[in-house]
Each structure stands twice: as structure tokens, then as C-alpha cells.
Symmetry: C2
Subunit: 569 residues, 2 copies
């Protein structure tokens, strides 16, 4: 797409702005169709973003996105249109705001609820340095349920600075927004008693709205007014937009068109199997419950939610509350499963320790999108979980080598009475379902070689098999073990082995993961432990295999290492 | 103190309840004076807790405390009075609610904001299992600012269950409650427009209050009414209490009398030195700012807050918001320092990754109360931080060996332009101030021995010195190194050493800490690495040296190990 100049947006007529919006919408649709990405949220906010660029002066003024699912128009309008076809591709434009990508991206995001806190910090820094510019936080109603928002609003009135909060209300998180906060937001304008209470005013905000966020005739004057109000204090502008706006199929199916991410046709989704297994358990055991934070379909739980609505809890984008709720359901005698993406579980780290494991309650964490997740980049890679889970007492951490093993682990979990985490990537092979014993490794290939390889999870087991085939072709071999429990490790197995060389593979950072654990067990042995895993760096967006290779799990490098060990003898 | 029977509280006259309250208050005062603990919050809630025991049937009904700073009366009334003199002592009564201690403690706490989520979980489990009892969450107005509360309230209306929330409003966190939430709470009753808006009703709660929580004549009927309202739905009862009630010196100085914890007279507080150094930096550099989450005095920051109020941000019990605010202040050109206790920083784990380190922003984390903290028990030990920080890219983790080294590190931090964490215990020795180079270890005792000991932090360096003295008395020695950077490790130093035996000491769990890191560097060497640190378990309350010895840092065991290594040769 051609580039846009600032003056173009500034000088356009309303008709021209509409035409520009149509062109932007077409470009977003075309690019997302090709590259994957977030569609409906971006389609819904085209006019709103164009209007913000018309009224404010970027990059002097600062625009902070919450989550960032709606930043494409901003990217297109800020010099990145010619590169937009590289969206989410390795080395290309990121799907999220990113400071190092552009001076127009003043604050990076990817997880929900940070925008108001970030806006306050940037505004205070401005004030303390006697600078003058506007700070705008653009946040969706789904994010508005997150606890961080409340913590930021609590501060706002006392921080004595000025920010503009644009609340983009489309009634949706990824799924429809659940919870009472949204009901209150909806009624702010229509109910007199609520309006009279001047709720946001109590938090130091002048409230304006609701404005149609897909209509320039309403939007532009509202933003101009907000800009002038900003001279005197903070403002909340409540804007209603239509998720998927302009594309009827997206308007009508905003959840399904929230994000697109091409799937390898040859593989299956772990989530689908998870959903089947959990529903089957629930049919047998009335204690089984499912807890999620604003996701059901992508975690495979649609059918569970439909079949067992009284035992299915989607609490909105509230990862911490979901975790405490699960802990308390367990304390009350239920058997809860908390399904979530690896990267978002980081939000509940303290609650996993304090509420679940500290009380040794039988909550099972079903951790999807573990390892490198690819095109969403730094904020969405699930490369820390093996480490941050392994350090927690009372927690068992399981890593299935394929979908069949996930099924076996879920079945096993029904009788397990302590905290359990099962982590897996999005896509994989079906595989067989064999019974699993807690804490026991499984030998996948046995030899008399002096080399043993421990691989955790499907990505690593696949690489190990690939390397094994090459080794055999070159006339050597190694014992291959499925290290399916990272915690507890199979101490008896590991310490009982006599191989001179131990190689570990994990799709996780090296600090505190499988390699460190096995090395700790073998410290006083004669064996040498060599670990492959991700380097100590944030991993940007790109294709999973390419990123894995580049950041620490390179089959060639692993093969070379094994060949060298074989030669060493 | 003698035990109380349920019927005693049930059948007492108001006059007798008052006499009972006086006796309880005296017992609490006497015990806290002797054992340390939380005073003013417990003194303030005596009548409220007695009234709850009068109106509800425990343990059939469930009482969930938020944080648990106010649970002493509940413990005294639920069979634990005869053991109350063992409060916070090893093997004695915990200072916090604890499931394994009593069936009256249905949910354990220690960190803020969990009570409503926990109450909802227990209530839903009750409903799903067709049981009948009342579930009560008792929460202070300080905790009410925490984001978890908002997430739980957002869920409450849609979860379709019944809980009673008793909001204990004393206008205080540990320090006076800051923020707009509290202002709104204060005005709920007095302002007609706010009352008319029926705010809590929007969240599915019937609101009652404000009731004088130190007066049985008001309290008992209010609780009876709440109990009957609970048949039909959830209730929020807003109660005003006086922190420190009954003891004028505590009423007048509720912050100072919030908690007592005897200090070893021979040692100094790290916090005091931290405060001095940070104030000195701030005088030189206008970019220096301090961020805290509801603590200033105990972190040594009172003087900073008084001298630089425009650059001092206490955001209430909002650890996550504090972290994002710090990140954004840094993004805006400031140089923020976020001071917090180790255990509470767990709440901001995702924000450390996503906001600070993911953007490589120069936020310095000042992490107090690291290692075993003693009498507060499981929920307050700071034994995970070296592990959960070491796994994060872009973060430098420093551990001073004494207060002088903390001073040197803070001075060094002023010129450091990446994320930095400095973690230290509460008490220590003053020590000298020598310039520090990032990532460089320091040899404390050099020998030609085949043994090298790496010790991280004051607790471990002290143990190492003690063991060295004993070794020398027995005619052997070892090289002792101050491992003052856990990340990055001093790779050049470690890999350059030729000792056959490497021993590491850290006051942290073993998974992912110093020992694992050094072992990872030495994997292909001939050296054997032996690590001492805390075992993979939650550590209960007790005295610091005794717990350290029991849970993994036993000087005798370390000495025996070294002697054995020396003998091995």
C-alpha cells in the first residue's frame, strides 16, 4: 500500500476520510487474509484511528494501545504502509505496537489492561520534565474488566496529571464481554441515576459519550472537545464501534474473525482433544469444572461450555481472578481445570504460588500455546513456563509428546489430588493413548550408545526423532527418552542411567528448565550434560520452525553436537 | 488464654460481649507485644469478629479473610486460644489463616485481594454440591483497591451465587488508604446521587452500611439482616472500624503499630540505607522517581516521599499497576525505582516480563525481605525471586553481601540503562562501600585449595565465613567468592577457575537459581558442583536462622560437605 503523509489526513474532507477508511479496511482485510492477524477488532477501529490521527499530532502526542489488537490502522497511517504486507512475518511489521519498530509506537503491548497505567506513567514523566503533549490510552471494553484498569483508575485521581482514555466499546472481548462492569458501562449513558452519580468524575475523569466510533461526523467533534478538555484534566471518551465493521461476514461472526492464523493442514489442534477429554471426564464426574479468562473456542472448550454451563466459568480477561476462583472451587470440593495460554498464565504467577500450590489444592492448569507461538511475537511466546512452574513447590508439571499423550494425561489428572500443570503447543500429531504414571519418563528408542537424549514435548521429541534418523543414516545412534514430567523429574530413571553424555531438549528458556533439572540430578556423576533450549532473549514474530532454529533449537546444531559426542566416544 | 465455646458467644449479653472483646483485645496486645505480629488491624476488628461468630455458625459457615492481618480474634474464638501464646513461633499458631491449622480456616491468605474470588469459588462449589451454608469474605478498604477485587466483582453478578462481603473500612492500608476507590466508598452513604446510583447493586450486591464496626448495638442487627438477605442474593455490608481501637497509642499511630517484628539489636535495616542512597541520588538527578505499593516506611522511603513528593508514587496495594507505571515513567524518560517486598513482587511477574524487560526499560527493582523472612510464614518468604527473575531476558539481578554493597549498587544503578533488580534481606551488617562493576564477582578469601565456594547475599556470605573459620580451625580452607550478580553471572571468572569442587550457597529455592546457573557454565568441565539452597517446599513461620538451617542452609551440613570434599582431595 502507498504511504500516507500527516497532512493528507489533516486536510481531507469527511468524504475523503471515508474513502481513506475504505482503502485502509481493504488493505487490512487483504493483509490479514494473507498473513493472518487480528481482523474484526482492526476493522472496527479504522474510523476511530483515522480520527485520532486527524485531531492529534503523532508522534509528538502519544497513543497507547491496550493489548494492541487494534493498531493496524495506526501502523498504516504512521509510515508503515509500504511494509504492511510483511505483517507478522519474520523481519516484517509486528502485529502489536513495538517501541523499536517506530517512534509512533510509544509503548509496547500484547497483554491486556496496561494502557491506563502506561498512559499515566508517560503523562507524569511529561509533567515532571515540563513537556507538553497529549497522552491517549485506547482501550477496549474487554480489557476494561482487567484488574489493572481498576488499579490505574484508583491512582488516576491522585496522580494529578492529564490523560485521555478512549474506551472502545464493541461489546466483545475475543468472545462477547461478560460481567457486570460491561453492564455498568452500557447503562452509563441511558440511565439517569447512573449518569447523575458521575461515576468516572469520582475517579478524576470528565466523561463524554457514547459516540458512534464508526462515524466521523460524531467522532471528530467529540475528539476535538476531548482535546480541549484535556487542558484542564483527564477525560474518558466512550466510543461505540462495531467489531468487524464494513465486512458483513466479520460483523456477524466477530469471535470467529477475531484472529486468523493459518494452521498447518497436516496437524491437529491440541485444544480439540483437550475439549473432548474434559467433556468426557465431566460426564463421569460432577466435580469437574472448567475456568477460563475470556477464551473458550480457542482452548477447545466450546462443547464443554455448552454441555456443562453450570460448571463452566468464563470470567473475562481476568487471569488472576480465574486462578483464585479455581483454587477456591477446589477448596470447596470441586475438581477445577483452568485452561489458558502459556503467556497469559504469567499474570497469575502469584496466585499459582499463593492460592493453588501454597494450599496444595487440586487445580489442573491446561496450558496451551506453549513454546514458540510464532507470528504474534515477543508478548505471546510461551517460552518461560517450564521455568516459572518448576520453581513452585507442590506442583507437578507434565509435557505431552503428542495429542494422545495429552489425552492420557487429562484422564490421569482426574484421580490426581495435587496441583498439576500440563503444557502443550497449539498444533501436533494425534499419537496413541497409553496410560501414564506420574513422574515417569518413557524410553522412545533404546540403544547401548553412550549418549542419551531427553526431549520434553512434541516440538523437541520431533526434532530428536529427526536427528536420530540422520544419526542412524550416518551409522550411530542414541537412546531417546520422552521427558514427559519436568517436575518431579524421574530421578530414579535419570540417576540410574550410565551414559557418558546426556543431551536435553526443551522449547523453553534454559534457566530453570529441564536441562538444569537433569544436570542437578547428575552433578556428582561422571556424565556431561548438554542442554538445548531457547537463548536468554525475547523472541520476535516469525514462523515457528524458523524461530526455533534461530533461537536455540536448531536440528543441524543438535545433530552436529551429537555426532561430535559420538566421535569423542 | 482459656478456650471459648461456641455457646458462650451465642448466649452472651451485649455487656458480656463487650467484656469478652476487652479480654480478647488484651490477649492480642499481650501476645503481639511478646511474639510480634499485626496489632492495629486486629485491635480494630475484635467486635466485628465476635459479632460474626455470634451471628454465623463456624466452621459450617465459611469465613474468608483478605490478607489475614485481622484474623487473631477468629483464631482465639475457634479453639486456638490456649495455643495463642505460640503465635508466629516455630511450630506454633500461624499469624495468617491456614487450612491445615484449623477447619475454621477454610481458605489461606497472606497477599491482598483474594477474598471475594475465594468466596465466590467456595460458594459455587457449595451450590454445585447442593450444600447449604453462608460464605463471608472479610476485606479491608486497603485491599479493596487491588485489581483482583474488581475482577471478582465483575464476575459476581454473572456467577449467580450468594456471598456476604464485609467491607472493613478503617481508612488505612498499612499506610492511609490512597486513591479514588476509597473516596467513592466514603461517599457512598453520604452523597445522595451516589447512593441513588446503587453502584454495588449493579454488580449484583445488596448494599448495607455504613455500620459502626466497634459497636455491637449496630453490628449485630446489621449482620442478622445481612444473613437473611443472603437467602436471596449477595450482600455487601460496609462497616467502619477504628484501626488500633481500644489502645490510644495504637489508634493515634496506626501505621507505626500495624505490625511489630522484633529486630536483632546488633543489625541494621537495609531499608534505611536504601532510603538514604535513593534520596541522595534524587538530589543529583531529577529523573529519579520512587514507586511503591502501599508501603513507604518499611521500605525506608519516608524521607524520599517527604523530600520529593512530586517524584514519589504510592499507588496503594496495586503491585501490577505500580510496575506498569514504573515502566511507563521510564519510557517517558524518567529513572524509576520500584521498591517492594520479594513475595509481593510475584504479583507483578508478568509486568516485569511484558512491560519492563520486554521493552528493556531502565526500571530498578528494590526487593526487600528477600530470603526467609521468618514469623510471617509461607506467604511471606522471599525464596523464589532469584529463580523467577533469572529466567527473564534483559534483566540484571544483583545481590549485595551487606548494606555497604547495597549502597554501592544503588549508586551504580543511576548510570545503568537497562532493567535491574537488587534483592536483599531485611536486616544486615553495614559493611564498606566499594565501587561495583556490573556482572563481576568478588573474591573474599583466596586460597590454593581445590574447593571454591560461591555465596550470594548476606545470609549466605555470613554462613560461608562461619564455615571458613571452622575449616581453618580444622586445618583446611577454600576460596570464597561473593557471587553478587546472579544474572549475568561472571562467566569469565567462573569458567576461568580450575577448582575441582564448586559449592554454591543461595537463600532461594534451588531450581533456576545461582547453583543451576554456575553448574550450567561448568557442564563440560571436570568440576563437580554442589548446591545449597532451600528445598522444594513451602517454608512455614519461625525464626530465620532456625528455618534456614532446617530447610537447606545448615552450616553444619555445609561444613561436613566441605570437609568431605577436602578429604576426597
Amino acid at each position: 500500500m502507498r504511504n500516507f503523509t500527516r497532512s493528507e489526513v489533516k486536510n481531507a474532507s469527511i468524504a475523503q476520510l471515508k474513502a481513506l477508511s475504505d482503502a485502509l479496511r481493504e488493505e487490512i482485510f487483504r493483509t490479514v487474509s494473507a498473513c493472518g492477524g487480528h481482523l474484526s477488532s482492526n476493522l472496527g477501529t479504522v474510523e476511530l484511528t483515522v480520527a485520532l490521527h486527524r485531531v492529534f499530532e503523532f508522534p509528538e502526542d502519544k497513543l497507547i494501545f491496550d493489548v494492541g489488537h487494534q493498531c493496524y490502522t495506526h501502523k498504516l497511517l504512521s509510515g508503515r504502509a509500504p511494509l504492511f504486507h510483511t505483517l507478522r512475518k519474520e523481519g516484517g511489521i509486528s502485529g502489536f505496537p513495538k517501541r523499536e519498530e517506530s517512534e509512533y509506537d510509544c509503548y509496547g503491548t500484547g497483554h491486556a489492561g496496561t494502557a491506563i497505567s502506561a498512559a499515566l506513567g508517560i503523562a507524569k514523566a511529561r509533567d515532571l520534565q515540563n513537556e507538553k503533549f497529549s497522552v491517549i490510552a485506547l482501550i477496549g471494553d474487554g480489557s476494561f474488566q482487567n484488574g489493572l484498569i481498576y488499579e490505574a483508575l484508583n491512582s488516576l485521581g491522585v496522580l494529578n496529571t492529564n490523560v485521555l482514555i478512549v474506551l472502545n466499546d464493541n461489546g466483545m472481548s475475543i468472545s462477547p464481554t461478560v460481567g457486570c462492569t460491561h453492564d455498568v458501562l452500557e447503562k452509563l449513558k441511558t440511565e439517569k441515576t447512573l449518569a447523575d452519580a458521575k461515576l468516572f468524575e469520582r475517579f478524576g475523569l470528565t466523561y463524554r459519550g457514547v459516540v458512534n466510533g464508526n462515524d466521523f461526523e460524531e467522532l471528530l467533534p467529540a475528539l476535538e472537545e476531548a482535546k480541549s478538555l484535556l487542558e484542564k484534566g483527564s477525560v474518558l471518551l466512550h466510543v461505540a464501534t462495531k467489531k468487524g465493521q464494513g465486512y458483513p461476514f466479520s460483523e456477524n461472526a466477530p469471535t470467529e474473525t477475531h484472529g486468523f492464523s493459518p494452521k498447518p493442514a497436516s496437524q491437529k489442534e491440541y485444544a480439540a482433544a483437550l475439549g473432548e477429554e474434559l467433556s468426557a471426564l465431566a460426564a463421569q464426574d460432577r466435580r469437574i469444572a472448567a475456568v477460563t479468562a475470556a477464551m473458550t473456542d480457542s482452548l477447545g472448550l466450546r462443547s464443554f461450555f455448552e454441555s456443562y454451563p453450570d460448571r463452566a466459568f468464563d470470567v473475562g480477561i481476568c487471569e488472576e481472578h480465574a486462578c483464585v476462583l479455581a483454587a477456591a472451587l477446589a477448596a470447596g470440593g470441586m475438581k477445577p481445570y483452568y485452561a489458558i495460554y502459556s503467556t497469559f498464565l504469567q499474570r497469575a504467577f502469584d496466585e499459582i504460588i499463593h492460592d493453588v500450590c501454597g494450599q496444595n489444592l487440586p487445580v489442573t492448569f491446561l496450558i496451551d500455546r506453549a513454546g514458540i507461538t510464532g507470528p504474534d511475537g515477543e508478548t505471546h511466546q510461551g517460552i518461560f513456563d517450564l521455568s516459572y512452574l518448576s520453581l513452585i513447590p507442590n506442583l507437578t508439571v507434565a509435557v505431552p509428546k503428542d495429542i494422545g499423550e495429552l489425552r492420557a494425561m487429562v484422564r490421569m489428572s482426574a484421580e490426581f489430588s495435587s496441583p498439576l500443570a500440563i503444557r502443550y503447543p497449539r498444533m501436533g500429531e494425534e499419537g496413541e493413548i497409553c496410560p501414564i504414571e506420574i513422574g515417569k519418563f518413557d524410553i522412545l528408542h533404546s540403544t547401548t550408545s553412550d549418549i542419551i537424549v531427553y526431549a520434553a514435548g512434541e516440538t523437541c521429541v520431533r526434532i530428536a526423532h529427526e536427528v536420530l534418523k540422520r544419526a542412524q543414516a550416518e551409522g550411530f545412534s542414541f537412546t531417546l527418552v520422552n521427558a514427559r514430567f519436568i517436575k518431579p523429574l524421574d530421578t530414579q530413571f535419570v540417576t540410574g542411567r550410565k551414559e557418558k553424555y546426556i543431551v536435553t531438549l526443551e522449547d523453553n528458556v534454559l534457566s530453570g528448565g529441564l536441562g538444569d533439572g537433569i544436570a542437578r540430578l547428575m552433578r556428582e556423576s561422571e556424565s556431561t550434560v548438554i542442554s538445548f533450549g531457547y537463548r536468554d532473549t525475547f523472541i520476535p514474530h516469525g514462523e515457528i520452525p524458523s524461530l526455533a532454529k534461530k533461537y536455540g533449537l536448531d536440528p543441524d546444531e543438535i545433530f552436529d553436537c551429537l555426532r561430535e559426542l559420538h566421535a569423542r566416544g
